[in-house]
């Protein structure tokens, strides 16, 4: 089971992250990789602008 119902003692964000093997992985990939796409696009635009000058 990749996702399991929340069963920890106290409801907590970190408890939710640890409910299955996929939850932490998906969360970290989302918050790390998505902003990197954004940074990539910004840097690409900057380089193109510098080359155009």
């Amino acid at each position: 089971m990749f996702f399991e119902p929340f069963t920890d003692v106290v409801p907590s964000f970190f408890g939710w992250l640890n409910q299955g093997p996929m939850t932490l992985t998906l969360f970290l990939h989302t918050v790390i990789v998505l902003p990197m796409f954004w940074i990539y696009k910004q840097e690409k635009a900057r380089l193109e602008q510098e080359e155009g000058q």
């Binding site: 380089l47 510098e50 080359e51």
Partner: protein
């Protein structure tokens, strides 16, 4: 001039590393503050009011502690004073600990403190593991109180010739080198009778801590509840 690639651009990697480091730092700071209330020790009034805490009050030594499979959570949980309809602690059933089941919060805390200091002074962790800290030269002590070997039918209790679990454990701790237990026998550490009492209280309390099923293989011990 050749087109510059973003992948070989320093600023892209600098900004990415800055984001990841900063985000991870914030997450870990949050985790620290999220953990504090969860590992705070409960009080005797929590037990009286039937409130389950991850780390219960020292007065838990007045209660019977069992280890029951929680099918929802997928591992065993310590059940204090018998189970209620949901299978969690009902805090009803008491158990004599060294002849008493009315240890006050102060007395129990003092006993536990003596045991904790004793465990540090005798360096139990040099061979044993307590709550994930220590070594695996000797058995994990996190749930040792719940080990059936110390129970009324258990070989350890029979070996010491005592009638109760706590007396058997204390007797063993005072004279560990007298009892042939393991291929690696425990040496005599000069533990006094008072220290042994404290250490057993410390172990009983530790077994009542909800460790999310740690140690994972404890249920596999022969005779333990619902070995997986």
């Amino acid at each position: 001039m050749a087109k510059k690639s973003v992948w070989s651009d320093n600023r892209f990697w600098q900004r990415s590393a800055g984001w990841i480091t900063g985000f991870a730092a914030m997450l870990l700071i949050w985790l620290t503050f999220d953990t504090i209330p969860q590992i705070m020790m409960g009080s005797d009034s929590d037990i009286q009011n039937g409130v389950t805490k991850r780390v219960p009050s020292p007065t838990v030594i007045n209660y019977k502690i069992t280890y029951e499979m929680d099918t929802k959570r997928g591992h065993e949980i310590p059940v204090i004073g018998g189970a209620n309809a949901e299978g969690t602690s009902s805090f009803q059933e008491k158990e004599l600990f060294f002849g008493r089941d009315d240890w006050s919060e102060e007395e129990a805390a003092e006993l536990l403190n003596l045991g904790k200091l004793g465990s540090q002074a005798k360096n139990c962790m040099n061979c044993h593991t307590l709550l994930g800290n220590g070594a695996y030269y000797a058995p994990d002590l996190t749930k040792s109180w719940l080990d059936p070997a110390w129970g009324p039918e258990g070989s350890m209790q029979a070996m010491t010739g005592k009638d109760t679990k706590e007396e058997a454990m204390a007797e063993f701790l005072i004279n560990p080198s007298q009892y042939p237990t393991h291929a690696r026998m425990m040496p005599n550490l000069g533990i006094t009778a008072a220290e042994a009492k404290g250490l057993v209280a410390f172990l009983k309390h530790m077994s009542s801590i909800d460790t999310n099923g740690f140690p994972r293989n404890f249920g596999k011990i022969k005779g333990a509840v619902h070995g997986k």
